[in-house]
C-alpha cells in the first residue's frame, strides 16, 4: 500500500517533469488541430492576438507584410482564399514546412567565391538575381549571374519552426490564430479591394513637362500664363544669405561649371560661349560680387567629431534619405537613383553656415523645396558635423576686391543671373523680354540638343536636359503651351505632391510612396506597430479623413501625432503648402454615405464609449496612447486627439474597415462584416462606434478608460534619507515623511508636533498627492504603526487635549538636514526650544535596522518647566524582561538611560508610557528612545 502511494507520487512527478520539457508547439501538435481552430474562433481574443502578431518575439508582421508589398517572405494573409480553412492556419503555425505555399520555399544560393546565401528570390533576370536575406528581411542581396555557382530550392518553408514556442501559453496561441482568422476574413470581406502597390501611377507627359519647366524656372525669362499659379514659384537659393555661409572657392568653381561641380543641379551653365580663361575670370568676378553682397556671415561653429555619429543617425532616420542619397558613416554618398543632388558639401559650406541652413532652410530657400526638418539647433550641429567630415579650411588669402565686385555685378546682369536671383540687384535695367512660352520653337535655344549646341557658341543657358526631358518639354511646347492646360483639382494636387516631393514618403492614389531602396531608412521606435509605425500614412482620401484646421497644422506647422515614427513631417512654409488643404478638402470624398447612429442620452453614450475603449470592452487602450500615457504594448495614436483630427464619417468607416484605409494597420476589425464582436455590449456596430465617437469628442478631457497602465510611483531611499511634506494617513496636511536607509521610515506631524507613524519597508508611494489635483495622501509602503494625536511633549500639569485644531502653545520652527539628509526637527513650546533627531541604528549584532530618537529640550534663562513626554499610548503597554515596552501592534520601545519612565492610566481608559521632566532655567535635557519596529 505504502509502495503504491509512492509510485503514484513518482509518476506524477515524472509526468510533471515531462510536461515541463515539452514545448508549447509539441503540446499543441498533440491536440486535434480542428478543435484548436474551433476554440480559437470561440475563445481567442482578437486584440491580444493583434498584439502578439506584432510583438518582437513573434513578429509575424515582419514577414507577412500587408498587401502593399509583394515580395515579402510570407504570403499576404488577407489574401488567403476564403476557403483556406481555419485549420490550415493552425497547421501552418505549428508545422510550417508541412505545406509550403508556392514561392515561399527557402532558396539557397552559393556563389563562386564560396559564399552561401539563404533567402527568397525578389528579382531574377539574365544578368543577376536579387535575394531577400532570410535573417535580415530589409537586406537585399544582389548576385550577378556570372558569380552564381548554384541555386537550390529548399524543402523548408521560410517560416521558422517552433514559432508557437515564443508564446506564453495555449491561450495566447488561440488569440493569435483568432487574429489571423480576422485578417483572412476581413481581407476577403472588404467590399473594395485594397489598392495594390505604390508607384504605379505616372503623371501625364504634359504635367511632367509642366513641372520640369516650372522647376527650371523657365518662366523667369519666358513669360507664361500656364506655368504659374498652381504651386508657388521655385526660388533659387538666396545668394545674399548663401554667400556669407559658403567658401568663395566653391562659388567660383560652381559658377564656372555648375553641372560638373554639382551634377543634377537645376542651374544652367551660362558661360558656355566663352573661352576657358574668360570663364575663369567671369566666375571669379561674380564670386566677388556675391561675397560683397553677403548679408551676414555664418556664426562660427567648431567641428565636433563626437557629433558625427548622432548626425549619421539623424541623416539616416529623420527623412534626409527620403530625397537624398544615403551615406556611409564616413559621409560618403552611396549613389541611389532618383536622389536629389547635394554636390560636394565639404567644399561648399562653412560648418556654421550649414548649421544655420539646416536649422531653417526656408530662410534662404523660401519656396520650400528643401523643407524644414524640425531639427533643434543641436541636431542641426550634429547633422552638419556628419555631412562636413572633411571640411575645407577657409582660405585666408581670399580678399574681397572692390574692382572685381563691380565687374562681377556687371557680368551678373549681363548674363541674366538676376532674372532668377532677383534680389541681388536693386532696380535692374529692363531686359528684353524673351519669347513667351507659347511662342517657343521646340528644339531651339535652351532646348537644342547637345550636338547642336556644340556647333554653335550662343549665349543660351545650358541646362543639360536629358533627351527624355527635352522630348517632354518639346512635346509640351508643341502641343499644349498654346492652350491653357486645364487642370483638375487632382492634377493640381499631383503637381504639388511632385513638386515638394511629398510622394517620396507618402502615396496617393498609387502615385509615389516609399520605394524599396529607401524603405530601410524609414525607421520606428516601436517595432510592434509594424509598417504602420515607420511608413508615413497614405494620402489617398486624406481630405475626407482629416479635419481642415488639423491638416493645416500638419502641413504648415509640421504637427505630428506619431511620436514613434522617426521620419519627421517637415514644414514647407505656409505660402507653399497651405493651398493643398483646400484642394484636398475640395476633392476627397468618402464615397459612401455614412449614417450615424441615433441616440437620446449623450451622457450614457459617452459612458458606453468609455467602457468600449477600456479593457473591459474592445480594449483600445491595449495599444493606443491615452493622454500621452502610452500603453505597455505599443504607442498607437493618442485617443484624446482623435476627434480633433478626424472627420466623423471617416472614423465610422475606418472602424468598420481599418485595413481598407490603412493597408499597413495593426488594428483588428472589431465589427467584421459589420457585426460587433462584442455583441454583449450594448447596441449594434453603428451604435457602438457612435458611443466611442461621443467619448472621444471630449478630447483631452475624456475621462480615463479602464486599463490605462499607469506607472507606479515610488520615492526610493538609497544611501541617504528622503523626505516629503504632504498629507499622510492619520495626520493632517502638515505631515513630513522621512525614509531612512535600512527600510525604516517615519512620519512626523508638524502641526501637533509628534511622531505620528513608523513603518518598516519601502518608503513612499506619492501618487495620491502627485497625480491629478493631489487630493489624496502620501502612502507608506509598509504596515503603518500609528501614534496618538496631540503633542508628544507638553506641560505635565495642563497638557493640550487633542481635538481637531492646533496646540496653542506649540510652534513648528523647521528642520535642519545633516550630511545624510537626516532631519533634526525644531519646535517651540512657549519659550522652550525643542529639537528631535532620528537615526537609523543597528540593533545589537543583527542586520536589522532600527530607529533611535533623540529629543533635546532647552529652557530659557527666565523660566523652568514641568513637562511630560508621551512616548506611546495604547490599550495595553507591557514591559518585557529586557526592559523594553511592548505595544499591542508589536512595536517595542526602549527608553534609554535613567529617564523616569512610567506607564500611567489615562482618563479615556488607556495606558500611556511617558517620561516626566523637571527642567530648570537655562537647562537642557536629552531624552533617547529606541524604536524596535516589527
Amino acid at each position: 500500500m505504502k509502495f503504491g502511494f509512492l509510485g503514484i507520487g513518482l509518476l506524477v512527478l515524472l509526468w510533471a517533469t515531462d510536461l515541463q520539457a515539452q514545448s508549447l508547439t509539441e503540446k499543441l501538435m498533440a491536440e486535434d488541430p480542428a478543435r484548436l481552430a474551433e476554440e480559437a474562433r470561440e475563445r481567442g481574443d482578437i486584440v491580444r492576438g493583434a498584439i502578439l502578431y506584432h510583438q518582437a518575439n513573434t513578429n509575424c508582421a515582419k514577414c507577412h507584410r500587408a498587401s502593399a508589398e509583394q515580395d515579402r517572405f510570407g504570403p499576404n494573409l488577407s489574401e488567403l482564399s476564403k476557403d483556406s480553412a481555419d485549420l490550415s492556419i493552425v497547421e501552418s503555425i505549428l508545422a510550417p514546412s508541412k505545406v509550403i505555399k508556392e514561392g515561399y520555399e527557402t532558396i539557397v544560393a552559393s556563389t563562386l567565391d564560396g559564399a552561401v546565401h539563404y533567402g527568397m528570390v525578389v528579382e531574377k533576370d539574365a544578368d543577376q538575381i536579387v535575394l531577400r536575406d532570410q535573417s535580415n528581411i530589409d537586406l537585399l542581396i544582389t548576385i550577378r549571374t556570372e558569380d552564381l555557382d548554384e541555386l537550390q530550392t529548399g524543402r523548408k518553408s521560410m517560416m521558422p519552426e517552433g514559432l508557437a514556442d515564443q508564446l506564453a501559453n495555449r491561450q495566447q496561441f488561440l488569440d493569435l490564430v483568432r487574429y489571423v482568422i480576422d485578417i483572412k476574413e476581413r481581407g476577403s470581406a472588404a467590399e473594395e479591394q485594397v489598392v495594390k502597390g505604390p508607384r504605379l501611377r505616372r503623371l501625364s507627359d504634359p504635367l511632367e513637362a509642366r513641372i520640369l519647366m516650372h522647376e527650371h524656372q523657365c518662366n523667369s525669362c519666358h513669360s507664361s500664363a500656364s506655368l504659374a499659379g498652381v504651386v508657388s514659384d521655385r526660388q533659387p537659393p538666396d545668394l545674399k544669405w548663401l554667400a556669407g555661409r559658403t567658401h568663395p572657392s566653391y562659388l567660383e568653381s560652381y559658377i564656372a561649371d555648375p553641372h560638373g561641380v554639382k551634377p543634377g543641379t537645376l542651374m544652367p551653365h551660362t558661360l558656355g560661349h566663352l573661352s576657358q580663361t574668360e570663364v575663369a575670370a567671369h566666375a571669379e568676378a561674380i564670386t566677388h560680387f556675391l561675397v560683397g553682397s553677403a548679408e551676414k556671415t555664418a556664426a562660427p561653429v567648431l567641428a565636433d567629431t563626437t557629433a558625427i555619429s548622432p548626425g549619421y543617425e539623424l541623416f539616416q532616420s529623420v527623412g534626409c534619405v527620403a530625397c537624398h542619397a544615403p551615406r556611409n558613416q564616413d559621409g560618403t554618398e552611396q549613389p541611389l537613383e532618383d536622389s536629389l543632388p547635394l554636390g560636394d558639401l565639404n567644399a561648399k559650406y562653412l560648418l556654421g553656415g550649414l548649421v544655420e541652413f539646416l536649422e531653417d532652410p526656408l530662410k534662404s530657400r523660401i519656396s520650400g523645396r528643401m523643407p524644414n526638418m524640425q531639427l533643434t539647433h543641436y541636431e542641426a550641429v550634429e547633422l552638419a558635423n556628419f555631412l562636413l567630415q572633411k571640411p575645407v579650411e577657409p582660405s585666408n588669402s581670399w580678399q574681397l576686391d572692390p574692382a572685381k565686385v563691380a565687374q562681377g555685378k556687371a557680368m551678373f546682369l549681363q548674363l541674366g543671373c538676376h532674372r532668377c536671383h532677383d534680389n541681388m540687384i536693386a532696380s535692374p535695367p529692363p531686359t528684353l523680354a524673351s519669347t513667351a512660352i507659347p511662342m517657343l520653337r521646340p528644339g531651339k535655344g535652351c532646348l537644342q540638343s547637345a550636338q547642336a549646341k556644340e556647333s554653335s557658341s550662343t549665349e543660351v543657358p545650358d541646362y543639360q536636359f536629358t533627351d527624355q526631358e527635352r522630348d517632354l518639354i518639346n512635346g509640351y511646347i508643341s502641343n499644349h503651351a498654346r492652350e491653357n492646360l486645364a487642370l483638375t483639382t487632382n492634377d493640381r494636387i499631383d503637381v504639388s505632391l511632385r513638386t515638394f516631393n511629398c510622394i517620396a514618403c507618402h502615396d496617393r492614389d498609387q502615385l509615389g510612396g516609399v520605394t524599396d531602396m529607401r524603405n530601410p531608412h524609414f525607421q520606428t521606435d516601436d517595432l510592434n506597430l509594424g509598417d504602420q509605425g515607420r511608413i508615413p500614412p497614405t494620402l489617398t482620401g486624406v481630405g475626407s479623413k482629416l479635419d481642415a484646421p488639423w491638416m493645416r497644422d500638419v502641413l504648415v506647422n509640421g504637427r505630428g501625432i506619431r511620436p514613434y515614427m522617426k521620419t519627421r513631417m517637415p514644414q514647407y512654409g505656409a505660402d507653399n503648402v497651405e493651398p493643398l488643404v483646400e484642394l484636398f478638402q475640395a476633392t476627397d470624398r468618402l464615397g459612401t454615405n455614412v449614417e450615424f447612429a441615433k441616440f437620446d442620452d449623450q451622457k450614457k453614450m459617452r459612458e458606453l464609449g468609455r467602457t468600449l475603449v477600456g479593457n473591459k470592452g474592445l480594449n483600445c487602450v491595449a495599444c493606443h496612447t491615452y493622454q500621452y500615457k502610452m500603453s505597455d504594448t505599443m504607442p498607437a495614436v493618442d485617443l484624446t486627439e482623435m476627434a480633433e483630427r478626424l472627420n466623423k464619417d471617416w472614423f465610422y468607416e475606418y472602424m468598420l474597415r481599418p485595413q481598407k484605409y490603412s493597408p499597413n494597420t495593426v488594428m483588428p476589425s472589431f465589427w467584421p462584416g459589420g457585426r460587433a464582436i462584442r455583441e454583449d455590449l450594448e447596441g449594434d456596430a453603428a451604435y457602438q462606434i457612435e458611443a466611442i465617437w461621443q467619448y472621444l469628442l471630449d478630447g483631452r478631457q475624456a475621462p480615463m478608460p479602464d486599463g490605462v497602465v499607469r506607472k507606479p510611483m515610488e520615492i526610493v531611499v538609497t544611501d541617504k534619507a528622503r523626505m516629503l511634506r504632504r498629507k499622510y494617513p492619520g495626520i493632517g496636511k502638515r505631515g513630513i515623511g522621512v525614509g531612512y536607509p535600512g527600510e525604516v521610515n517615519l512620519a512626523f506631524d508638524a502641526e501637533h508636533l509628534r511622531l505620528a507613524t513608523l513603518w518598516r519597508g519601502k518608503f513612499l508611494d506619492p501618487s495620491g498627492v502627485w497625480r491629478g489635483q493631489g487630493s489624496g495622501e502620501a502612502r507608506p509602503m509598509g504596515r503603518p504603526i500609528q501614534f496618538a494625536k496631540g503633542p508628544d511633549l507638553d506641560s505635565s500639569a495642563h497638557p493640550w487635549v487633542d481635538d481637531s485644531g492646533r496646540p496653542p502653545n506649540h510652534r513648528f520652527r523647521g528642520y535642519t538636514l545633516d550630511s545624510q539628509q537626516q532631519p533634526t526637527f525644531q519646535y517651540e513650546i512657549g519659550d522652550l526650544a525643542v529639537q528631535e533627531t532620528y537615526h537609523p541604528i543597528q540593533e545589537g549584532d543583527s542586520e536589522v535596522t532600527q530607529l533611535q530618537r533623540i529629543v533635546r529640550i532647552a529652557a530659557p534663562e527666565t523660566s523652568a518647566a514641568s513637562l511630560r513626554f508621551r512616548v506611546a499610548k495604547a490599550d495595553t503597554i507591557s514591559q518585557s524582561s529586557d526592559g523594553t515596552y511592548e505595544l499591542p501592534n508589536g512595536l517595542k520601545i526602549r527608553v534609554v538611560g535613567e529617564l523616569p519612565a512610567s506607564v500611567i492610566d489615562t482618563a479615556d481608559g488607556q495606558k500611556q508610557l511617558q517620561v516626566t521632566i523637571e527642567l530648570n532655567t537655562k537647562e537642557t535635557q536629552r531624552l533617547v528612545f529606541e524604536y524596535l519596529i516589527p
Partner: protein
Amino acid sequence: MMNFFIQPMLLLSITVAYQQEPLGEYWGTGERESQYYRMVDVPLPEAMAIEAGSFEVMPNGKQLAIATRRGDILLADGVFQKYPQPTFDTFASGLDEVFGMAYRDGSFWVTQQTETTRITDSNQDGKADQFETLSDAWGFRHYHEFSFGSKPDADGNIWVALCLSKSYHSDAPFRGWCVKITPDGKTIPVCSGIRSPCGIGPNEHDVMFYAESQGPWNGSCSLKVLQPGGFMGHPVSFNWYDLVPEMEKPEVEPNTPSRLETERQRVKELVPYAVVFPYKRMGRSISGFVVDRTGGKFGPFENQIFIGDFSLGVVMRATTEKINGVWQGACYPFREGFATGLLAVQFTPNGNLIAGGTNRGWPVRGPKAYAIQRLDWTGLTPFEIKQVQVTPKGFRLEFTLPVNRELAGQPENYQLGTFTHIYQQGYGSPEVDQTTPTATAATVSADGLTVLLEVPDRVKGHVHEFYLGKINSSTGEPLLHPDAYYTLNEIPE
C-alpha cells in the same frame, strides 16, 4: 457628518468627468506672433517631472531656480543660453507644492502649502540644509487650500494669498485672506475676501496685486490689488476677523445676486477688480505674473505686466493705473500656444520670458504634462495696442508703431462694447448689461503713436472692450491683436 462630507465630493467628481465645455477658441494669432516672439523649448531631463510653480534668477545671472509642485527646488544652468541645453541640480526637495520663491541674502524665501520657509545652504555644499519656518500661521485642512507667496517687497515682506477651503468655504484660519510675513517671521493679516488665487506680485507701480480665478463672487478672472484692510469680494472668510482684533470686520455683507459697482457703494471695504480678464477670450485661469523690467530687451512693452494662464496656455499683458484712489486697467492678448498649463513666469537676465507649469489636475489645452519654455523677442516690433488708459473724456490709446493717420482719425473705426458680470455667490457669471458706446472723436498724435478717443457714453463698473480691426499701421499692417479690455471703475475728473 460623513454624509455632509461625501456629497460635495461626489458632485465634484461628476462635474470633472463630464465637463464637455470646450476650453475656448484659439486666438488664431500664434503663427504671426512667432515672428515677433519666438518660443524656445527648454529641454528637461526625462527622469524627473519638473512641474514648475515658481522661478527665480540666481544672483550669478546664470542659473534659473525652479520650484515645483512636487516640492523640489532645482538649479538649472544653461537655460538662458541661446540654444538651451541646461543641466539640473537638486538644491532642496520634499517640500509641498511650492508657489512662491525668491532668493535674497543668501537664502531662498519659499512659500509652500504649509508655510513660508527660509531655506539656506549653510555649509555651501550646493544642497539646502536649513529649513526655517517663518510662518505657518494659517490653517491647512484641505488639499485645495493652495498658498501663493510673493517675492519679498521693498521691506522684505512676503505676501501670501491663501486659497479658500473649497470655492465656497473657509474651514481653517485665514483661508481666503492675504497675510504678510515679515523677514523676522511676524504674520500680519492684510485683507479678506480672496477666493482662489493663482499668482501674486507687484504691479508695474510696485503695489502688491494677486490673480483671482473665476468662481463664486467672481464673474471672471481678474487682477486685484491687495489693499490692507480691504475685502476682495468673497465674504465667506469674514469669520477670521475675530482673530484680528486690530482690523474692523465689514459692517455689511454684499448682497447676491448684484453688481460689484452697486455693492461697492454699500460695502466700503470692497475692492473692485482692477483688471477683468473676460472669460475664455482672455484665459480661464490666470496665474503667475511679472513686470517687464528688462529695459526694452523684451520689446516695446517695458514696465507692463505679463501674466500666464493655466487652462489655455497663453501669456497676456496688463497695465494698471490708479484713478480717484482706485486701481483699474486693461489687458491685452500677447502670445498663445504654450505646451502646458502655465503657473509661473519670470524674466531672464537677457530679457527673455520664461514660462512654465504643468497640465496636471485640471483641463488644460497644452498637451504636455509639464514644460518650461522661453519667449525670445526677435527684435521685430509687432503692431499692437501698447496700452489703453482712461481720460476725462474717453480713452488714450497708445500703439507700438505709428498708425495710418487717416484710418485712425476716423472715430467710427473704433468698435467699442461694454459689459459687466453678475456679482453673486453662484459660480461665475455670464457677461451682462451690455452697451455699445460710440467714439465721437479720434485725435492722432503728431508721431502717430497715440490716439485720444472721446467716448461720451462710458459705463462705470463695466469692462470696455476695444476691437480695432480697421486700424492699420502707417505701413498698412493690421494689428497683431486688435483687442483690448479696459475695466472702468472710476472716471478721472
